[in-house]
Subunit: 350 residues, 2 copies
Amino acid sequence: MTQSAARATIADVARRAGVSKATVSRFLNHRETLLSSEIAQRVEVAISELGYTPSPMAQALKRGRSRLIGLVLADITNPYSVAVLRGAEMACRAAGYLVMLFNLGNEIERESAGIRALSSYRVEGYILNTMGHDPGAVMETARQGKPVVLVDRLHAGLDVDFVSLDNRQAIDLCATHLIEAGYGELLLATEPLGTVSSRIERVQEFQAFLATGAAGRTRGQYFESAAGDDAALDAALRSLSTRARKGGRLPAVISSNAVVTLRVVAAMARLGWRLGEDIGLVGIDETEWAPYVGPGISTVSQPTGELGRWAAQCLIERLDGGAAAPRRILLPGTLNVRGSSRPAAAGKHS
Amino acid sequence: MTQSAARATIADVARRAGVSKATVSRFLNHRETLLSSEIAQRVEVAISELGYTPSPMAQALKRGRSRLIGLVLADITNPYSVAVLRGAEMACRAAGYLVMLFNLGNEIERESAGIRALSSYRVEGYILNTMGHDPGAVMETARQGKPVVLVDRLHAGLDVDFVSLDNRQAIDLCATHLIEAGYGELLLATEPLGTVSSRIERVQEFQAFLATGAAGRTRGQYFESAAGDDAALDAALRSLSTRARKGGRLPAVISSNAVVTLRVVAAMARLGWRLGEDIGLVGIDETEWAPYVGPGISTVSQPTGELGRWAAQCLIERLDGGAAAPRRILLPGTLNVRGSSRPAAAGKHS
DNA sequence: TTGTATGCGTTATCAA
DNA sequence: TTGATAACGCATACAA
């Protein structure tokens, strides 16, 4: 325990125990098969006396496998991503893997840099939650022959395991709840679609829902809300309200994720509208603040921890040799009803 | 570029360029000193043709230094921590270091595990934002002779660089603002003090402020709010209100961080009080939702990115040989005034 | 059952 | 200026 600055190596242990390095290594890796007599004892005490821990770097170099799993996050600032990270981390830890994180910080051009960095550390597989803007980068992972699992966002041309919220179920949940609550003119507000599969899918499922009998005479549109453009959002909201009034319906917004939910909330302040009364709102993504903004914001919680856990699970199974066809794992969301989707006295909006 | 599964090694490059491994290594590391003639050319093209990248693991093994910096976070779920992480990451990247993250997930008993894991990867220094509950673990870093910088939380007996919000300035900012806004009976609500230096410091600075002339006839107390115990918080708030009424003052809360701010907000809902009117509130830690909860919540923003940047900076300077005495870097917060600290019509609370 | 020798991908020391 | 070679810490094939 009382050790000088440098970490003990396997040679130190061997010397101290009066055995060879190979024996120490065997004690560490093949304890059961090549059992030693009382030499194991000596090695064991030497190890604990020296506080010896094998160097994962040297092990990786020798074995060709690192017990590292690479996790690429588009934006660690996003609570969704962090929650997924936690789930994945726990599953990996349980399986003896360490998660090596690479945060893109929303700089899509770093996508390949991230994968290269992880690759240089010989990670054994990748969990990707990126923009998918740099197909070359992601293809590189496939080329390496290392397993990949995508979270939340599909990549064109990459046929691998995929773990995500069941967007159809989530959209259905939002829409039917809103309709049952009395709202009849819907707007799906989303971040700009771009190539992000989850955004696109939510819009498509929304449109599919509207085309269904379940929608009744409900009408709906969608709107892409860009980061700085408050005016466009306000206009879309006003237009929604106008359509609703003309049709004798109550207007409501489904926001496609927490970022957009916050934008809609901000718009309420600008427009002087009250959630639930002047307009309905249910947002995908539960947040800690949802219960306390306005009358409380109705949300659909994603099973974020589970998503991360599943992602890790998929990867680890493939690492263990499971070679089935790519899986698609879609987990359901759960609805949290709050004031933002309770029309107070039936449409008293101006 | 067109490569088989395995990554190219320095030997591949050497073979391709028709030189020795040593030459390739020199090209990579000592380009200026031992300049080669047109051999450099050959090496250069071979490298790019093969898409060769040195293995950081092998480099670390040989050099004894990893260009890795270990970052231990108490809870990555906390936006404060993530913001610090981002700042630190950017500074490290600029200096050619990679951040290796270890998240404690608030499990304090993992503190030593985290440091050991990082240590096994031969990180060259540590940025620590932990509970400090496991002194042994942290001492271990010191024993290793590797530089350490503490963020937000001091550790007893560990005399190293420290980067943090200027708690005195922040508390003064909150208190004087509240007083100027007309509030005279203050309550500092904090998470249980335990051994967390930042919490303790904020309480002490609060008490110091009250003892000062600046406080005038203002009175104040502090309250430790435990995670599940809503009743205690409600009681503390009611008692605050009672004291205020008796003294003919307006009551206000300073919440010590974002977690507590949210608890106070939740209490408002339970008690049926309105922020700003029935009670004032200013919280340390800016959040994305602060503008939209109730009348908007006044906050003090921490310069989180800067904190992270400074932490990395300190570490890197020591890594480069700077051996001065431990530094204390205290950065000021900035006040964001919103509705929660604007008494509407002078104390119309019951 | 244990020890010796070799190699993983690098860098650094020495000769050439 | 360049090329063998040893060594970093470890795991394993082989020999003892």
